[in-house]
Structure formats: structure tokens, C-alpha cells
Amino acid sequence: MEDLVTGAAQIPAAPARSRPQTGDGAPILSMRHVTKVFGGKVMALEGMSLDIHEGDFVSLLGPSGCGKSTALRLVAGLIRPTSGRIDWGGGQQKGDIGVVFQEPTLMPWATVAQNVWLPLRLRGKSFRSVEADVKEALDLVGLGNFLDAYPRELSGGMKMRVSIARALVTRPRLILMDEPFAALDEITRHKLNDDLLALRARIGATIVFVTHSVFESVFLSNRIVVMAARPGRVLTELAVEAPYPRADEYRSTPDYAHHCGAATAALHQAMGEG
């Protein structure tokens, strides 16, 4: 335990590769020296390299303007890199991804079930043919009884769960989450963090999670990529080797406190350099 802690505390650490879940070795996503320049003058992201392996829970942690959302948009294929490469495992052109935004981003005119159906609907699947999948995804987030509710009838936390169910329904290889719980209150946020880990344990999802919360990133991830701003870039990577499943009790362990300290120090360094 002791050397785990010191290993994580080294700043800057060599990119640590820690994977509790063993994969076949080849990354499902590989970013190589990815740079994005907006409008020919704003360097949003500089030379980012990152490998995501099966079963990883990677947090991108950093101050605002560090390019973490840009990195996510690049991975989602919404923007193209100015230079560098983004490769998907298995020689795919495009990532098989699900996305959760900071806002629930639901269609207010559609019921919960119709919202979750959307990704499959856009692929030409009729509701009848995927009804079981929609139901299953909603059951996973604990909203199996709300199929016919409209988003306005739900609380902020429940809307976020619908948004997560929508990201799960296609069973993507990689789920991207862009500060999904930032707008929620602390209690709801803790609950959703617990549930997210439980969910991940059940379906074995690989997740890239953007956050500016040290505590959230330590609790959730096995890898924390700390980023600095101006220009946005990767500063260091920390490993959180505590085994999953992590329950709420993990938040009161010395190990958790230590990782939080290490991540906070790294974040301070990121802000000092930015």
C-alpha cells in the first residue's frame, strides 16, 4: 500500500499505466501528439498523447481552458485535430461512443423512453425492435418505472440518469462524459458517483470523464490525467490503484485522502504553470 501511495504522489510522474481489468493489450483509443488550433491562433490543445484501454476509467482533470472539453470533442469526432492522430482499435474509422454532456440535453417534447431510444432511432431501429434495450438501459440507471414520463417531471439527478441511459443504450465501447454532475448538488452528485461505479462494474464500460473536481476524479478513476491551460496540454498522469468496486466508504480511507492530496498538488502545479 505504502509504495502505491508514493508512486501516485510523484509529480510529474511518468505516465502510469494501471489497469485493474486486464485487456488484450491493444488500446481501444490512441491519441498521438494531437494538437488543435482554433482560428489559426488559439492553441486549445497541444501535443496530447493518450491511450485508453478496455475497462479504463480515465478522468481528465484541470482548470478551465486546459483543453479537456476540446479533447473530448476531438474524440467524439465533432472537430478534427489540426495535427496528430486519433486511432481507434480494430482499425475502425469512427469511434463507437456514447456521450453524456454537462447538461442532461434531453428532448423536452419526448418521453424518457423516446429520449433513450434516440441513438438507436437515428440508426433506423424501430421502437418495437429495441424496446427491450431501452427498458434495460433505464433499469440500469434505476428509472425503469419512468418510461412514459416527460423530462420536466424529473429532478436534475433523474434527468442526468436518463442522459446516461441514452449513452448506454447502444452499448458503446467508450463512454465520454463532459462534467456530467457539475451542475448537481453535492448529495446527488455523491449518489450518482456511487451509482456510476456500480453501473460500470455491471456492464464493464470504458469511460473518459472530464471534471474539475479532484474528489470526483479520485473516487471514480483508475487514471487521472492532469491538464494545464494556455496552451491546453497534459501535465502528468496519476494512478489510483485502489481496487473496484469502491463504495462510499472509500471516501473515508487514508488512501483516498492521499490521492486527493496528490491530485490537488498536481492541479496547483497545473494552475501555476498556466
Binding site: A76, P119, L122, P151, T170
Partner: protein, 286 residues
């Protein structure tokens, strides 16, 4: 013990502020329908008194009773005229919906189309229809088509501008989501932009309903010719020439009535389509 009992009772006490608020709500509920009726009744009664006390002859200002009488007596003539005006209005509104929504969709599909044609839409809107109507009746042979064009010119702009605004107001993250899942243009339009535009469109439609009626009445005035198949505006003109003032009032009453009915029908449509999800149609929980 007694302290807790008191506290428990206190919870259920209707305090003065709550009582006042409840009274206020009751008054408002009552006033919502009672006040308009009282005001209209008082106006009609005052109108009648003014005529009687000043001995105003009916060919200058008829008594309300006479207007009602005329409305019943001339009903066959008035009904025909009403149907003609109503037909023009409804047709013009339908064409305005098709044209307005169609143009709005075209505008959002291509910025260049919008840049090219938006100025024309504005020019049509800001030019008073009374000044275009005479020209239209010179170039268009059919009177019905001429009336339709005039009413359409007036009615289509609110639909166009509101729907364009609505189509562009779709949530940016949702648009990204549609892109990520590889949605086609058609899917994006049908599943995202059109539903997002619906509340805006319905707002425009309510304005356009009234404008379509105004447009067709104004166009009838300009077209002027009588005979079979003339609308309410022509009935008013003709009755004016004959100093048949009661009939003028009866026709005017019908026009106003049609306007109110159109507005109420479109408001109901709006409620029916939006009440499940849109803020504007939701009852607020106190």
C-alpha cells in the same frame, strides 16, 4: 406536551397571509369571466342610453337591439358574406403556414438561400397591403386568387420569422448529439429542429390568424366589386352606401367575432400540442 400540541396545531392554522392569498385567488377566478361580461354589458347599456337620451336617429347610430334584430333578419345575406370572408381567411392562413414554414426550412438548410431571399420577405412585410392590393387586382384575373394573395402577404411573415427563429433555437448539445450518432439532415430536421420550432411556430400562427382576417378584409375593400360571392367587407361598404347603418354594425360584429373565434381556436391548438412538455403551457405549481 402542550408545547408540541401547540406546535402541531400551528402547522394547520390558516395564517392571515394564506387566507388573504386564498381570497385573492377566489376573486381572480370569479373576475376572469365575470368582469369582461359586466364591462361589455355596461357598455351596451350605456350605448343604448346615449341614443335614447339624445334622440339619435337609427341611420346615424342604431340601438343595440336594432343591430341584433338586423343580424337575425339579414342572416342569410350576412352568412353568405361571412362564409366568403372566412374561406379567404382560412385559405390564406393555410397557404401562409405552408409558405412560411417551407421558406423557414429552406432558410435553415442553406444560409445562402436565407441571405438571398430574406430581404424580399421583409420588403413584402413592411409594404402596406392596401398599397399593393390595387396592383395585384390589375395583374390577377381571379378575384378569389387576388384576395388570397393579399391575405397571404400579410399573414405569412410572422410564421416565417418565428419558425426560422425556432428552427435555429434547437439546443446546441442536442445538435452535437445528433451529429455524433450520424443523423441525416432529414432526421435532424424532423426529430430535432421541427419539434424545437413548434412553440415558436404556434406563437407566429396566432398572430398570423388575426392578420389573415385583416388581410382578406382589407383586400375586399380594395377589390370592391359586388355581386354574388362578396365578403363581409363588401357588405359593410354596400350597407354604407345605402345608409343601412344597422347592417354595417351587424357585419362589423361578425368580423370581430370571427377574429375572436380564430384566436381562440389557435390558442386551443397551441395548448393541445404543447401542454405535455412546454413551459408556456404548463400550470405553475405554487
Amino acid at each position: 406536551m402542550t408545547a408540541t400540541q401547540e406546535a402541531e396545531e400551528a402547522v394547520f392554522v390558516f395564517d392571515a397571509e394564506e387566507a388573504a392569498r386564498a381570497r385573492q385567488r377566489r376573486m381572480e377566478r370569479f373576475g376572469r369571466w365575470a368582469l369582461p361580461i359586466i364591462v361589455v354589458a355596461l357598455t351596451i347599456w350605456g350605448w343604448d342610453r346615449v341614443i335614447v337620451s339624445n334622440n339619435i336617429p337609427h341611420y346615424i347610430l342604431p340601438r343595440p337591439g336594432l343591430v341584433l334584430e338586423t343580424l337575425i333578419k339579414d342572416w342569410p345575406i350576412l352568412l353568405n358574406a361571412l362564409l366568403v370572408t372566412l374561406q379567404t381567411t382560412v385559405l390564406a392562413l393555410a397557404v401562409a403556414v405552408i409558405g412560411g414554414v417551407g421558406l423557414a426550412v429552406l432558410f435553415t438548410q442553406s444560409k445562402f438561400i436565407e441571405m438571398s431571399f430574406y430581404p424580399y420577405a421583409v420588403i413584402l412585410q413592411v409594404t402596406p397591403v392596401v398599397s399593393i392590393a390595387p396592383l395585384i387586382f390589375i395583374y390577377v384575373d381571379s378575384k378569389t386568387v387576388g384576395l388570397l394573395i393579399c391575405a397571404w402577404i400579410v399573414a405569412f411573415f410572422p410564421i416565417l420569422s418565428n419558425t426560422t427563429l425556432g428552427l435555429n433555437s434547437a439546443d446546441h448539445n442536442l445538435r452535437d448529439l445528433f451529429r455524433i450518432y450520424g443523423a441525416s439532415r432529414w432526421q435532424q430536421l424532423r426529430l430535432l429542429r421541427l419539434p424545437a420550432a413548434l412553440p415558436y411556430f404556434l406563437g407566429g400562427l396566432r398572430i398570423a390568424g388575426g392578420l389573415a382576417l385583416i388581410g382578406s378584409v382589407v383586400a375586399e375593400y380594395v377589390a370592391g366589386t359586388g355581386g354574388v360571392g362578396s365578403g363581409l367587407a363588401f357588405t359593410i361598404l354596400e350597407a354604407g352606401y345605402r345608409l343601412n347603418i344597422p347592417r354595417m354594425f351587424a357585419a362589423l360584429l361578425l368580423i370581430a367575432g370571427v377574429g375572436v373565434v380564430i384566436f381562440m381556436a389557435l390558442s386551443f391548438l397551441s395548448w393541445a400540442l404543447l401542454h405535455k412538455w412546454h413551459e408556456s403551457a404548463l400550470k405553475r405549481e405554487v
